[in-house]
């Protein structure tokens, strides 16, 4: 029932062919508890298109070898495949140089790397790091650990009731002790899109570098790190239709050059003696040990897949889904949406009367609908809204309007059973 899409006057060229897209995702075609699966937990992880699954299989069947090491043919193939993936990532976020793209396990590892390495370089006792109320635990805990270790302080940008950050308070938090701002681009819990460009400008006026956690932004909109001008941008491959265990740290080359290594091992060195070692060029200085080569290749395929569809279509379609679902959900009696920022990613958090989100999650699951119920790894934000948990639905471009209708039916069933 893609009526909304069909009703628009866009030409076929700019429309998303959801049915053919769905055919690319084998996992979607299955029954859960006797119902066709509706996967609405995309903010946790996205499903993978055939091209990603196939390329990982091909890698292990045909070209698996370690990278940057052997003189044999396969090592060459593997190195090329790995470095081609790096170029795809560079182009995807419009980084200036391949030296600025570090392959890691995911956003969490990337933030920990910056906390450890940039922390060592620039942050000392009594310095301050600013984060926001909207952060995922992955962008809270690494900073807490750093602060505890060196005696620095964490400052938190407050959030308004509608889920938007208080930008005036943000400005007033910045002072000459502020050494870094670590900020999520999009809230994983309630979908708020932060005005990161403006916030980066504000920080730069005081000479403060900025890390952006882009985990929830990269799947939904075109990212240009040069235009944003942030010092660090991190994201995970698995939320971008790629494999788990692969993610990206983008950092400005000048900073990466100054920063000390995060982990030591093979690959990241140039000359090793027991007295002293010298480190490899960027980005390899930060890629100790054998990397997740197949994962990187898979991420490259995911980027190809998304690029072929194009963000102009993805963003428009997902925003239509968001608007439709928001309107439909608000028509459910007793349902309250948490976070109504003007600018939102296709993520909706809600509560329904006083029915516990876990009970809602279980009942929806029995109707084949996968949602997230809980605190979404954002306990301080939940606390801020006086909640211990919400139900979260998060959309991808393979979701449909009729799936939203089935969600509404499921929620009405929840109300009949427990309301």
């Amino acid at each position: 029932m893609n009526t909304i899409v069909a009703d628009t006057s866009e030409s076929n060229q700019t429309q998303l062919d959801v049915e053919s897209i769905r055919a690319d995702f084998p996992l979607l075609d299955q029954k859960i508890h006797g119902h066709s699966l509706i996967y609405f937990d995309n903010a946790a992880t996205t499903q993978k298109p055939n091209s990603v699954i196939q390329i990982e299989k091909d890698f292990y069947e045909k070209i698996n070898a370690n990278v940057h090491r052997g003189v044999h043919t396969l090592s060459d193939y593997a190195t090329n495949a790995y470095e081609n993936a790096r170029e795809k990532v560079r182009d995807f976020i419009n980084a200036n140089s391949l030296r600025e793209i570090v392959f890691l396990k995911g956003s969490t590892e990337a933030i920990n790397l910056v906390a450890s390495s940039f922390g060592q370089l620039r942050i000392s006792k009594d310095d301050e790091i600013i984060i926001s109320y909207l952060e995922h635990h992955a962008n809270i805990i690494p900073w807490q650990l750093l602060c505890d270790r060196i005696g620095a302080r964490l400052k938190v940008i407050p959030v308004f009731d509608n889920g938007e950050l208080d930008l005036q308070a943000y400005e007033s938090l910045i002072n000459n002790r502020t050494k870094l701002i670590a900020l999520t681009h999009v809230s994983n819990a309630i979908g708020t899109v932060n005005p990161v460009k403006e916030m980066i400008n504000t920080a730069h006026c005081s000479g403060v570098p900025v890390l952006i956690d882009g985990s929830q932004a990269v799947p939904h909109e075109k990212i240009d790190v040069q235009e944003l001008d942030c010092e660090f941008y991190v994201f995970s491959g698995h939320k971008l239709y790629g494999p788990t265990g692969i993610g990206i740290l983008y950092a400005k080359e000048s900073l990466l050059n100054e920063m000390p290594p995060y982990q030591g091992g093979g690959e990241m060195i140039r000359v090793v003696t027991f007295a002293q070692s010298t480190y490899n060029d960027l980005p390899y200085k930060f890629e100790a040990g054998t990397p997740n080569i197949a994962g990187a290749v898979g991420l490259g395929a995911a980027i190809d897949y998304i690029t072929a569809i194009g963000f102009s279509r993805i963003t428009r379609y997902e925003q239509q889904l968001l608007d439709y679902a928001t309107k439909k959900l608000l028509s459910v009696e007793g349902l309250k949406i948490i976070g109504q920022a003007k600018n939102k990613a296709p993520v909706i958090s809600f509560v329904l009367e006083d029915i516990h989100p876990h009970d809602i999650g279980t009942i929806l699951d029995h109707h084949g609908i996968a949602v997230r119920a809980g605190h979404h790894c954002a306990m301080p934000l939940m606390e801020r809204f006086g909640l211990s948990a919400t139900v979260r639905v998060s959309f991808a471009f393979y979701n449909t309007f009729s799936e939203v209708d089935r969600l509404i039916e499921g929620l009405n069933e929840v109300r009949r059973m427990l309301g």
Binding site: I355, H356, P357, H358, D359, T362, I363, H366, G374, H375, M382, S388, A389, M417, L418
Partner: protein, 147 residues
């Protein structure tokens, strides 16, 4: 009855909405906090024990229907029980919730929780109150968790 109806039986919905023994035992001899970080379920259990017999037991807490109903049903069944019997009861409830109980009827009203066994992700909701009880009786200092 579908697995879902089996889980959300009327008795469970009723106890979830209107928990029995909700409050604090003023002259408690034993107490403990239970917390399930994944769900955010919280439970504060207070008990008065005299002569090895549970005289009074109450709880306050927040959580899903299953965890509240389980705590409510537990407090009902515990009153007047000898603490010697609690360990055995805990074992039986655990078997019930994990689908290993051959004779659920012996547990009386608690047998309404048998549907939980079909929902592995929800077993911890139902066991939170029982783990909290164990810790209270052991006079343990650290909060329990069913994670």
């Amino acid at each position: 009855m579908s697995a879902l109806r089996e889980l959300y039986q009327q008795v469970i919905i009723d106890h979830g909405r209107h928990p029995r023994n909700h409050g604090i035992v003023e002259n408690a001899t034993h107490s403990h906090h239970g917390y399930n970080p994944l769900c955010g379920d919280k439970l504060n259990l207070t008990i008065n024990i005299q002569d090895e017999i549970i005289q009074d037991v109450k709880f306050i807490g927040s959580g899903c229907a299953i965890s509240i109903a389980s705590a409510s049903l537990m407090t009902e069944i515990l009153r007047g029980k000898k603490i010697d019997h609690v360990h055995e009861l805990f074992q039986q409830v655990h078997q019930l919730l994990t689908g290993h109980c051959e004779n659920p009827e012996q547990l009386g009203k608690l047998s309404v929780l048998s549907g939980v066994a079909e929902f592995p992700a929800r077993v911890k909701c139902a066991t939170l109150s029982w783990h909290t009880l164990n810790a209270a009786l052991a006079q343990s200092d650290s909060p329990v968790s069913t994670e």
